[in-house]
Amino acid sequence: MTAVHERADTFHDNDQKPVGHGRMLRKEDPRFVRGRGRYVDDVQLPGMLHLAILRSPVAHARIVSIDTSAAEASPGVKAVVTGATLAGLGLAWMPTLSNDVQAVLATDKVRFQGQEVAFVVAEDRYAARDALELIDVEYDVLDPVIDARRALEPGAPLIRDDLQGKENNHCFDWETGDEAATAAVFARADVVVQQDIVYPRVHPAPMETCGSVADFDPVEGRLKLWSTTQAPHAHRTLYAIVAGLPEHKIQVISPDIGGGFGNKVPIYPGYVCSIVGSIVTGKPVKWMEDRSENLISTGFARDYIMRGEIAATRDGRILAIRTDVLADHGAFNGTAAPVKYPAGFFGVFTGSYDIEAAYCKMTAVYTNKAPGGVAYACSFRITEAVYLVERIVDCLAAELEMDPAELRLKNFIKPEQFPYTTKTGWVYDSGNYEPTMRLAMDMAGYAELRHEQAEKRARGELMGIGIAFFTEAVGAGPRKDMDILGLGMADGCELRVHPTGKAVVRLSVQSQGQGHETTFAQIVAEEIGIPPADIDVVHGDTDQTPFGLGTYGSRSTPVSGAAAALVARKVRDKARIIASGMLEVSVADLDWEKGAFHVKGDPGKSVTIQDIAMRAHGAGDLPEGVEGGLEAQICYNPSNLTYPHGAYICVVDIDPGTAQVKVRRFIAVDDCGTRINPMIIEGQVHGGLTDGVGMALMEMIAFDEDGNCLGASLMDYLIPTALEVPDWETGFTVTPSPHHPIGAKGVGESATVGSPPAIVNAVVDALKPFGVRHADMPLTPSRVWDAMRGQATPPI
């Protein structure tokens, strides 16, 4: 059903629920609470050296000269490497995940503040940093391109003169939908609303910064790389291609990772530098960036300047949505998205509504800023798409003087329309939106809130209620459509049951805190009846796991979770044959009940999965044609994405004297299909909602006109603490995915996607008495203050 989940999942420890889905405490937690997690910076190897990177102090400059002599003479220094050194090795440039190239160390020009220019390898962190100060670089400073709107102006400084024949700062054009059909619908619509909407540049800023430890063995020609990566297998193959080594000579280990949020999908120059450092010195080399380096040089998120238009009938029937986007991709196109989707999955900007036409035109440009683009739990740009549609729908509600909840309810895609093909070609697998929306409204007490708001408005108090309803597209993806640099986005899984009935499952995806060691044990347990405590989950080491594309875009459960369920079913199929031999009946005469096969009509006659495992490895004959052992492997290619949805309601109060926004309540109802571990789901939702408060009210990576990054520390880039967020109110509905083996959809990014528009809609709603229809994020006190005085300006 699509209403409320019925499963009894209120048990509190592993013993009470030996198999399957439900609230189960995390298997990984005991090591973390003891301080025994093993993160990249915890790796200590004998003789290990430390690497530090010299970064450009300016946004755009030609390098005239680099003098490293003083640095080389500094105590403890083992090597100083510049772009010229790398050029000699053919390693000065590397491919990005979007078929662009990026400088590992700058050879000709620096193109953003913080770009990598040289590195030092020394005996300890401090000696390496000391030596950086002694490198003398002479720059010929050039005019930078900071405002994306001016990047394509004639005479704009050319950033990418490294690209053959490049004469301007154009990165790519992209469009989707039907331009003519959309124009025709707009021409006949009763009401058209247009709004310029900026999604400013923000940064995922995981608590653990990026880093690596490289250990190259020159005798064996083997590289071992501990790395903060969300995609160890994809990284290994790219290193193999660039270095000309076979994959089996490269072991990438992604150990415990202190949060990723998309920040750890790309390959950063620092990883390559650590590898070069190890090759040059013959020692293991550690590189760990500091917080400023993380904020100024690694994958940013968003930076979309959008114009949204919506057409509707006077009575509130949405007809069409059109948008024009200017995308700022920074100095190199480092976006990590399936290659056929340069704008990620922005194409879902039609949202959760059944409309007649849609069209999007996008231009992407280079600027003198750090590369990146797809990060911060964005589901490949669905954050931007959902923000656009949910903001513009609220603008329409204001224009029509309709309640924003009513307007949404009136236009939802109906449950009987699924699978639903959108006007931009996305096939939503399943959905039942109204019950989700109604549950959120019930939990919020929506009518009472509106009543309270009316009373407060009459007293001059500023209270706002914001709604956002999102549909996400996660679980990339079908290999016919989706690949990254030619690598299909499928995921492998291997399951081996030991003779004693314990098991090990090996995943191609990797956890940055999502709890895979628990969730995947539960998925397998549900299918094969072995308690989760007896199933060891191995992940994050390319020598130990099958190939796959990694964890991002909420893809682990939709893709790898499906693989885990199917590989367990494959093992169960073999177990059934062995059981038929043990019980001397045909396979058709066996019933499966979690953990055991029973003879039909004679439930007392049964064998457990543990009995079968021992028989599979033990003495005695197996049925004819059955090999010994109890294991299987699979590579799962999803037939479609999964489309979770959710309804969010935010209540804010604004202090009229200071313009400070306080999020008083936040109600989040998520539908991610079948729920494996509700505790983990709730945790992921909470985290995403907090991201939303950050982006909507606090966070922005800003630049001055010279290209200096103004968000270069956590004193300048403000992240919510426990004081800025409320006690979250969460609920759920369940609409299973019809094509996923267990009906699950991804959830990791839903709240990050859905919460910013709910918060901004609430703030704008609170500011209605001032005639405000829109104000851009981040809604800091000064920006809200300006909006209250009719002086709202875009942040960029």
């Binding site: 003891r34 301080g35 997690g37 300890d124 500091d290 505790m679 004081l723 609920g731």
Partner: protein
Amino acid sequence: MQVTMTVNDVEVTREIEGRLLLVHFLRDVLGLTGTHWGCDTSNCGTCVVWMDGEPVKSCTVLAAMAGGHEVRTVEGLAKGAELDPIQQGFIQCHGLQCGFCTPGMMMTTRALLNNNPDPPDAEIREAISGQICRCTGYATIVRSVRWAAVHEAAAAAGVTETTESPEADEIAAAGSVA
């Protein structure tokens, strides 16, 4: 220079550079990698340890300044195999995801409970407001601390493990229902 301090009840003496930060002394010199490093600017709090029972951010304390003092890290929270209630609370109430901020959060909130065994939610939020968690959204951290507070109160009152406090059960289950 030589520095001597007590770390998790053990006296240690090491030859160090005068500028060495306490966080690097603990991690790189002593190999106590449970204390993490996250920002350099005292904003994130993933490096919180105790000096003489008070939480400090070890990224902005010189190891030399800790000389003669008692330092306690996350590795010194449990008593052997027995986890501190604050550690149990974080497990029971899903107070952690990636685990990176967790040691600092536990050190701060353990100190809070030492000073006030029954803090209201607002006081717990205030106590951890100098620290950042990117995963949990803080609500489950607050629940974790409440779980520890309630369990310690029950233990102090002589209630046995089999009759746990209803509030603690409610806190632990809060994540599982709509």
